[in-house]
Symmetry: C2
Subunit: 395 residues, 2 copies
């Protein structure tokens, strides 16, 4: 069976992805250094509920399903650890069967510091973001170059790489005509946070590696993800993914629902016209799976825009308010001074058809989807710490 290696397997997307592939019969190996958990501890931003360690989760998964997810706890900025997965020198931290699964057919690369505010807390966090994100990606590129040029990489990029240009956003590429001549280039990128800028750098790096070494890479330009329950987490609450509701690691829709439940006015930055593409965590799983099933060609950097619908911040606040009120919460909206430097009203017209073309069926942010999220979050109402919701990291 095909072998999938998940870099960043403990994260918000990493663990649900591991279960999703394991459930479908893939050999799955996950690796993580607990960066996210440690950062939450250091910054004192609690999660909604305690989450068992990656090893504990792999054991619970094995108990329920009989399926094995092999675990390596290690720091992927160390090139030797990345290379070990391709050289038969892995040391599993936990596994049922300790024999080496062999080089992966697919690497799913989530192992990046994913927060814009984290990257701008101060110069130290900025440097951590740059070093972590670039070195992990580069270690992966060189491991493929040296050992496994046919392994397919699925990397999570971000729609934030494009920023908010005044032209329509295409899926990764643009043919440009200039002074009577034509060529095809990466779609122009200009991000509004240091984190998002490191993802542009990832793209630069992967595009170099693809051209030089004929690698096979799919880069998924993902918008903000919402949700927490997946088909695999319903079998045991302890298999639920990490859920943050703070300014640093909390994603807007998840965070708004928490705020609604504890009567914390929804924090809309400035005028609230900031528009982005969003998707359900279950669609992230589908997108990654469909990308795995139809890999990029050799020498191809295939780019998809991974969003299912667009909303402004005002749309999301109003939607949360409306669903919250129906459930009996008195939801207020606070248009606060914007701590970020960003356009609060802008043109935004991204294309997102490629993933649907390879078989993804979109889920949308309906009222009932949001109600279900309210119902899960409500169970943990007593865990919510109001003081972590807003920290005011300034751009």
């Amino acid at each position: 069976m095909s072998h999938v290696l998940i870099l960043g397997g403990d994260g918000y997307l990493g663990w649900p992805t591991a279960m999703y592939f394991s459930n479908r019969g893939y050999d799955v190996t996950v690796v993580d250094n607990y960066f996210r958990r440690n950062a939450c501890t250091e910054l004192d931003v609690g999660m909604l509920y305690p989450v068992p360690t990656l090893i504990e989760r792999a054991k619970i998964w094995h108990e329920h399903t009989g399926k094995e997810i092999k675990v390596v706890i290690g720091d992927l900025t160390d090139p030797e650890i990345v290379r070990s997965f391709f050289r038969g020198t892995i040391e599993y931290t936990w596994s049922v069967d300790n024999t080496d699964t062999g080089a992966p057919d697919t690497v799913i690369h989530y192992a990046e510091q994913p927060s814009a505010p984290y990257s701008l807390i101060n110069y130290k966090y900025a440097n951590i973001t740059i070093s972590n994100n670039l070195l992990v990606t580069n270690n992966l590129m060189f491991a493929l170059r040296d050992f496994a040029r046919d392994t397919h990489v699925i990397h999570i990029g971000t729609m934030g790489e494009y920023g908010t240009p005044d032209i329509d956003i295409e899926e990764g590429w643009l043919e440009i005509e200039h002074k009577g001549r034509k060529d095809k280039f990466l779609f122009p990128r200009q991000a509004s946070s240091l984190y998002h800028t490191t993802k542009i750098m990832d793209t630069d790096l992967m595009w170099f590696a693809v051209r030089m070494w004929d690698l096979k890479i799919t880069d998924l330009m993902q918008g903000p993800v919402y949700g927490l329950e997946t088909e695999n987490s319903v079998i045991d609450d302890r298999l639920r993914t990490i859920f943050n509701y703070d300014e640093i690691f909390g994603i807007i829709i998840n965070r708004f629902i928490v705020q609604a439940i504890v009567n914390y006015p929804l924090t809309v930055y400035g005028r609230g016209g900031q528009t982005r593409g969003y998707l359900n965590i279950n669609d992230t799983l589908q997108c990654v799976h469909m990308s795995e099933k139809t890999p990029a060609e050799k020498g191809e950097l295939r780019i998809f825009n991974q969003v299912m619908e667009t909303f402004s911040v005002n749309d999301l606040a109003e939607k949360t308010q409306s669903v919250g009120r129906k459930l009996g919460y008195d939801v207020k909206i606070d248009h606060m001074e914007n701590p970020r430097k960003e356009a609060e009203e802008h043109y935004y017209n991204p294309t997102y058809q490629g993933l649907i073309d390879i078989g993804v069926t979109p889920h949308y942010l309906t009222n009932s989807v949001m109600e279900e999220m309210f119902q899960v979050v409500e169970q943990y109402k007593n865990n919510i710490r109001r003081e972590v919701i807003f920290r005011g990291v300034k751009w």
Copy 2:
């Protein structure tokens, strides 16, 4: 008087720049960690002649001119060292007058690992290149953000960021029309080495910083530089800049002259149609000086293409052969298998007018300029080690 801080002040361009500004009455501070010298030792690629340490050179300069170039030996990937220049906490390693010159009016940023082959020796050198280049630039951006948003930065980029597109190369920017709408973007970039890719990343990073914090940055997209003698080095041979002739750090024209002198066939990779823009080291000094005199505006990333004329590798080989023969050398040309992955014949039409518009007077690679280079290099003929000329680093 205006205060100029030169990051990477020991390098091929750094030291001549320090003398050039010092000679014109500027207060000059240089900082370097001897990265280049240490790398040459580690890789066993000798320089053409021994060069006194940065402190020795500053002393020699002071003896001849009475002018002071303050020296800090330190690693700029350490953010505290970068910040010390703006906070009144510098510790000079050498100076005549130990009082703090104060925050610089201009920072000239040369402090990067500058070699394409170095960046591709293996994954370790790739990681060093990424970490060094990105962290130095980021430390500078955050120091400006936190302490000195009006300081003008002059950064040396590279024409290699653009690669060899099939359209004309503009100076940094391009207006793009797409589906009836228009916006202005960074000119598309796609480099052919990991080193050059880190310079694209620098551009991404500086463009982010300029937009967020209204910084003033001039980015000079420089082509390969040739030459060694400047108006200031002629007063004492010990003030000559570092001169490499090896595959790792030697620049093509400098290297070809050395090869011609020791009867080492000129190493043309593949068909030799690779075309680039070149400039004399004395024009680099002019370009940086004119940029300093007409700084970028606040919130402006000003980009100039810093080349004076274009040549193919075949042009350069033939020119070296012709001048060499006139001087009595039997110069051969060897079209060897290309260790790099690059287009050997391609369209190449860069614009380079901006620096001339602000007052730079170009010098060209005439036969007499090349003859003078031969004459200086000949003095050190006995130092030349044939075995360092070609190493065969493969892309």
